[in-house]
């Protein structure tokens, strides 16, 4: 009702605005101009939010208090209520003052509110803008509409998730916008019965409140991460309420290569079930029954038999089954839960040849079961966001992988990654995971992968001609993460497209480079990838007087070390999966030139990185060996300075050059 009134008010303003011929038109125009300041602003006592917005629009805080902020969030409140019938009502209200004309509008003027059109209802109650004149400008009906989120553009076949886009009118620097909506999740077996809310944001927040309300007899599980904060408790008509409030949060700025917001900013995690077994009850049995029916459908059994025919052992069987699901079933990218938790039957998935990760894991388990291999679906959390064991809710997990038991060992597989390598699952490391096992009752710890699971090993031979030209031959052997990333790029490329890619790689090392020849191993392999290139680099090491400088290119092909370009960090650096880069380099120097300098031996490292770098000169040949190991997913800010310094030493110019002088 309130929205209707504001829309009517806006229409009225518009009508007056066209009356330009009357006297005193300028005064009326100022009255209609949302940025004109007025002394006669009347405040409706029934609308205290409006009074607050007017005060913000006409006064502090502003850029004086927050010179770098895009906006100041005066109020950010989320009230989450579990209803007795199991429905979860999420009421959101925010009031934001735009401080920066470009960044502020970019971030806040068009707000996207996600909702699942099948399982949820979303009601935008208030969307309005107030400027210096104190008059509210409500978003018109045509300024509120639904879209398919771009990331789901190819997944509408699976998901009913949409975004309601609210475009605020009359927004500019200094505008204050208010958004209020209610999103109700119906009680179904697919409702996650929990979730998490960030308690902070990158812009300053004056008042951040999250409340969790549960009906009598239900005590939600609650935990806060990233800040010390206890809730206050009170009783309301809807039940008992736990309230978390953080006031006067500072302006913050994101840094490149940080983990996701949930891993960096404070958050509250909540669940309405009191044990992991209650979480698993409505999900695990349904999953297994649907994905691995008994008996296994004939089509699935026949496919499995065909795939494993001639396999040498159980591991070989598993590898073939995994490769089939990863490659032959097209992946529809969808976070876990966005299409519910119950998979389609494996024979349907097999026939469709497309699937989200829930269905791909299900099919892999069914194929494995058809060959007598036991497996489990495992829910994992990506983005280095720690799962909190004390809060049982499936909402803490966003991806699903499979774990097969092969010869008594656990083999982790990610079939939804079409480029994944066998037994290398990078998500959910060093974190708690949730096996979707009927009757299961707990989360388990998944350890960090060893750096030896992902290795890029290069052998590079440079031959320097007397005229400064260089012929470079490089062979790279990749496993794990490196093979995954490179396969992703190369698998779609053939013929001239592949030629272009190798030429671009050559030029990225040296602008005049020419790719003379290249070879690519099997990009459909799940056990590594080999590449070989032969590159001409004319004029690479020119003579400067009696001296030549030969610059050693970075090891690897198109791969770079984790971003350590900032001197200091306030937030952690995401390094990625543990891995190893190795390089063996030989440089053949032409007759008539003496090797005057090679980089001295360097061994070093810091928390998260260790390396050795050696070079030797013998006759006209320089040989170098470099090996770098990364063994942490994330580098904490307090450890970052040492990490940065260690990598800066490794990348220092004097480590990358060989000096030659005329003999």
């Amino acid at each position: 009702m309130r929205s209707f009134i504001y829309i009517a008010a806006l229409a009225l303003v518009g009508c007056h605005g066209h009356d330009s011929a009357k006297p005193n038109a300028q005064a009326k125009a100022q009255a209609a101009d949302p940025w004109a300041k007025h002394d006669d602003t009347a405040v409706d006592p029934k609308d205290p939010d409006l009074a607050r917005m007017v005060a913000l629009a006409t006064g502090a805080p502003g850029t004086l208090e927050y010179p770098q902020a895009d906006a100041v969030v005066a109020l950010d409140r989320d009230d989450i209520t579990l209803k007795p019938d199991g429905a979860v009502v999420h009421h959101h209200k925010s009031i934001v003052k735009i401080l920066d004309a470009q960044r502020g509008k970019e971030k806040f003027a068009d707000v996207h509110v996600p909702f699942d059109s099948k399982r949820q209802t979303l009601d935008i109650k208030i969307a309005r803008t107030v400027n210096a004149d104190g008059k509210p400008h409500a978003a018109a009906p045509e300024e509120i509409g639904d879209i398919v989120p771009p990331r789901l553009a190819d997944a509408t076949i699976y998901s009913d998730v949409r975004e309601r886009v609210v475009s605020f009118p009359a927004v500019d620097k200094g505008s204050v916008i208010e958004l209020e909506y209610t999103r109700t999740t119906n009680a179904t077996p697919d409702a996650p019965m929990g979730g998490e809310e960030l308690l902070g944001d990158w812009d300053p927040i004056l008042e951040r409140t999250v409340t969790i309300t549960a009906p009598s007899g239900i005590e939600p599980r609650l935990a806060v991460a990233g800040v010390e904060l206890k809730p206050t408790e009170s009783d309301t008509a809807a039940g008992h309420m736990w309230t978390y409030t953080l006031a006067k949060q500072p302006d913050r700025h994101e840094e490149h290569s940080s983990p996701v917001d949930a891993a960096v900013l404070p958050r509250v995690v909540f669940g309405f079930q009191d044990s992991w077994s209650k979480v698993l009850d409505p999900i695990a049995a349904r999953f297994v029954k649907a994905a691995v029916p008994s008996p296994i459908p004939d089509a699935v059994k026949q496919q499995a038999d065909q795939l494993v025919a001639g396999a040498a052992n159980e591991a070989d069987k598993a590898q073939r089954l995994f490769a089939f699901v990863a490659h032959d079933i097209r992946s529809v990218d969808l976070p876990l839960g966005w299409a519910g938790y119950e998979p389609h039957a494996p024979d349907v998935v097999l026939a469709n040849r497309y699937a989200d990760e829930r269905d791909k894991v299900g099919l892999l388990l069914a194929l494995a079961a058809a060959e007598g291999i036991h497996g489990q679906p495992i829910a994992v959390r990506t983005g280095n966001v720690p799962v909190i064991a004390s809060v049982p809710t499936i909402a803490q997990f966003d991806r699903l992988v499979a774990k097969l038991t092969i010869d008594g060992n656990d083999v982790w597989l990610a079939p939804s990654d079409e480029h994944a390598q066998y037994a290398v699952v990078t998500s959910g490391q060093d974190n708690l995971v949730l096996p979707l096992v009927p009757g299961g009752a707990e989360v388990g710890k998944r350890p960090l992968l060893d750096p030896s699971t992902s290795v890029a090993s290069s052998t590079i031979s440079y031959v320097l001609s007397p005229n400064g030209d260089v012929d470079a031959k490089m062979a790279v052997d990749m496993t794990g993460y490196y093979a995954d990333v490179t396969t992703r790029e190369l698998r779609p490329l053939k013929g001239e497209m592949l030629d272009q890619w190798f030429q671009e790689q050559a030029v990225s090392h040296y602008p005049a480079a020419l790719d003379k020849h290249h070879e690519v191993g099997d990009t459909m392999s799940v056990s590594g990838l080999k590449l070989a290139t032969d590159v001409a680099m004319p004029g690479y090491s020119a003579t400067q007087g009696n001296v030549r400088v030969f610059e050693l290119p970075e090891v690897g092909i198109g791969m770079e070390m984790p971003d350590a370009s900032l001197s200091v960090r306030k937030y952690p650096l995401e390094v990625g999966t543990p891995r190893t880069e190795k390089g063996d380099v030989t440089v053949q120097v032409p007759a008539g030139w003496k090797i005057a300098y090679v980089p001295p031996k360097l061994e070093g490292g810091a928390e998260g990185v260790s390396y050795t770098h050696t070079c030797d000169a013998k006759g006209q040949t320089v040989t170098c060996h470099v090996e770098v190991k990364l063994d942490k997913l994330v580098i904490a800010p307090e450890q970052y300075a040492a990490y940065h310094d260690a990598l800066a030493k490794l990348k220092a110019y004097e480590r990358r050059v060989i000096l030659l002088v005329k003999a």
Binding site: A153, V165, L498, P538, V549, L659
Partner: protein, 644 residues
């Protein structure tokens, strides 16, 4: 004899048994096409046929038959779904047939549940409630299969009542075995047609057949080669392309849009007051233009909505855009036009195309952008793009040399915006550097910008906090100087649109001249390539391939200069400097030099000029050579005595 019979029986069993209604071309392709026939392709287009029927009122139907053969595993993903966009308030989209023809001949129809009518994704911050897409998902697709779809678009509300136009490509990024475009239209509204780059396609069969009061036109080609795209190529200008139109002239098109926009150009009382307020201190017309442009460019955010039948040409009323403070290009062009006129200046909305130039020979719907033009006193036009919110020149450099259609009541011809001089898009870095006796370095560099350099730096700065600006500069420096430390950084106010945009940075590098045997190798800001936009970026963007089949469109000419004065410690003996380079051609110029000026002073200069936006395949070789020469000297440090 028995063997022969057995063999025949085997062949009979192995040959695919196709359903009767499978197109013979599809059967033939499944039987004969091998991946090795098309070494660069994952998918082959077997059939690309369009059948169009238009009427005198401009309404039309387009029935499109596409059949695509999957050659590789990667090809499966390319054909797996097809989104068929349409505008609900003006068009109807029907999927007449969708199926997978398996390589064994079996036909698997797409289930109804796999054909969805969905919202669109809000690209470019445009949320059109009438923008829909019918998404067809093909299930069970394997290598060797053909996806076969026929869909019909019915245009119920014409873009321009009484007119029809269209374009059709005879080449695509997939090899095409057969492509045809057939049109049936009324004789009283005949088509004009132009085929651009006919010579780049296989033979194009062309027929025109009168049939009563209708005329049937058809263009058809077979075995069109795969386009392997090259970076910075103008596809629409390089490919064999058919343009058909019933429009008599560009002037006519101009006049039509003038009629569409005229009612939307208006000034309300509040707008009049705003114009007065904005221009109250203006001493000249140019001051007024700047003030009004600044307001529209900075205060109106880019956000779109379908208005009326989704023509893409109907702007909102100026007052609506003014009040809501949002609009897309056509909306803001109308608002700026209205405000300029209110200020007593002549201004007109303009259609143009960001990206490829418009195909010029006949008038058609070849535009994707709207800007504003003001007549120059001596003739010609001054152009303003109010969607480019950080363009101090009011028209981004990359919009020069674009075709434009100024829309006036009398109608205007298609006109090309004149080329800009390279120096109008200038970046100039000036550094003063001191190498200290301990090998450390301190340096102060100022980057001055003009034209596109100004726009890029200003836009980047505007979208970052000061902390983030500092991070960006540090990251860029560490690319070449990993241990560099920023002492100070100062950027001019990016939002002060008509003030020069400059960046001044002071740095210290602890070991800029490390000892390497008997020498020290000094890498300063210029000689290390730390400021080397050209050396670091352009080779990959423009110069990666040794040769090109198609011309390169660099979007704009520009010049980037670096100057550095290096002070050395007293008594330092200079062993060698980076080698000089001088390359000049019709399209580029490189000058690089380092000279010892005094016993302790070295001056280094590097300059790269791209003289032309459009570079043909022959000229490309000289561009690549110029970039290569800069790449070579970027690996040459200043060599000093004093190592060990």
């Amino acid at each position: 004899m028995r063997c022969v019979l057995v063999c025949l029986a085997v062949v009979a069993v192995a040959a695919p048994a196709f359903a009767d209604d499978v197109d013979p071309q599809i059967r033939d392709a499944i039987a004969k096409v091998k991946p090795s026939d098309y070494p660069s392709a994952n998918v082959v287009t077997v059939i690309s046929d369009q059948q169009v029927v238009y009427d005198a009122d401009g309404k039309f139907t387009n029935t499109n038959h596409m059949a695509r053969l999957v050659l590789t595993p990667a090809g499966k993903a390319e054909v797996a779904t097809i989104p068929l966009a349409y505008a609900r308030d003006a068009e109807k989209m029907e999927v007449l047939q969708a199926r997978v023809v398996k390589k064994d001949g079996k036909v698997v129809p797409v289930a109804k549940s796999d054909i969805q009518d969905t919202e669109q994704s809000g690209d470019m911050n445009i949320y059109d409630p009438n923008g829909r897409a019918v998404k067809v998902t093909f299930s069970g697709v394997a290598v060797g299969d053909v996806v076969d779809v026929t869909f019909k678009l019915t245009r119920e509300t014409p873009t321009r009542a009484g007119f029809f136009n269209d374009i059709f490509q005879f080449q695509s990024q997939e090899p095409m075995l057969e492509a045809s475009y057939a049109v049936d239209g009324p004789a009283k509204l005949p088509l004009t047609a132009v085929v651009y780059h006919r010579e780049r396609a296989p033979k194009i069969d062309e027929t025109k057949t009168p049939a009563g009061d209708r005329i049937h036109y058809k263009w058809q080609t077979f075995k069109s080669a795969q386009l392997v795209p090259e970076t910075a190529m103008d596809e629409s200008n390089e490919l064999p392309m058919l343009v058909v139109s019933t429009d008599p002239s560009w002037e006519h098109f101009s006049k039509w849009w003038s009629e569409v926009t005229a009612p939307q150009i208006e000034t309300t009382a509040e707008m009049k007051a705003k114009v007065k307020e904005l221009t109250k201190d203006a001493k000249t017309d140019d001051d007024k233009v700047k003030a009004l442009y600044d307001f529209v460019a900075q205060d109106i955010r880019y956000r779109g909505l379908g208005v009326g039948p989704r023509t893409g040409y109907t702007p909102r009323k100026a007052s609506e855009t003014y009040t809501s403070r949002w609009g897309v290009c056509r909306d803001v062009s109308i608002l700026l036009t209205s405000m300029l006129r209110e200020a007593g200046l002549q201004a007109y909305p303009v259609l143009t195309n960001v990206g490829d130039p418009v195909l010029p020979k006949i008038a058609y719907d070849g535009f994707n952008h709207a800007i504003v033009a003001m007549p120059k006193p001596g003739g010609g036009w001054r152009y303003l793009d109010p969607t480019a919110k950080n363009a101090a020149d009011m028209l981004p450099g990359m919009e020069a040399e674009q075709d434009t259609l100024v829309t006036t009541a009398k109608g205007e011809p298609l006109t090309r915006i004149p080329a800009a001089a390279p120096t109008s898009n200038l970046g100039h870095a000036v550094a003063a550097t001191t190498i200290h006796p301990d090998g450390s370095m301190s340096s102060k560099v100022t980057l001055e910008t003009h034209g596109m350099f100004d726009l890029v730096v200003r836009s980047t700065a505007a979208m970052m906090s000061e902390d983030q600006q500092r991070e960006l500069v540090e990251e860029a420096l560490h690319y070449a100087l990993p241990d560099a430390k920023i002492v100070s950084i100062k950027l001019s106010n990016a939002l002060a649109l008509f003030e020069p945009m400059t960046v001044t940075v002071e740095i210290e590098v602890p070991d800029a001249a490390p000892k390497t045997g008997d020498y020290r190798l000094a890498r300063t800001l210029v000689t290390s390539g730390a400021l080397g936009l050209v050396e670091n970026v352009l080779p990959r963007v423009f110069g990666a391939q040794p040769a090109r089949k198609y011309g390169l469109d660099a979007r704009l000419p520009f010049e980037y200069d670096e100057d550095e004065t290096i002070s050395l410690p007293d008594g330092t003996k200079l062993v060698a400097l980076p080698n000089p380079a001088k390359v000049s051609s019709a399209v580029t110029q490189v000058v690089a030099s380092c000279e010892q000026k005094t016993a302790t002073t070295v001056a280094c200069h590097r300059s790269f000029q791209l003289k032309s936006r459009f570079i043909d395949t022959e000229q490309y070789k000289s561009l690549r050579g110029a970039l290569a020469s800069l790449g070579q000297i970027a690996r040459q440090p200043v060599i000093l005595e004093g190592g060990k």
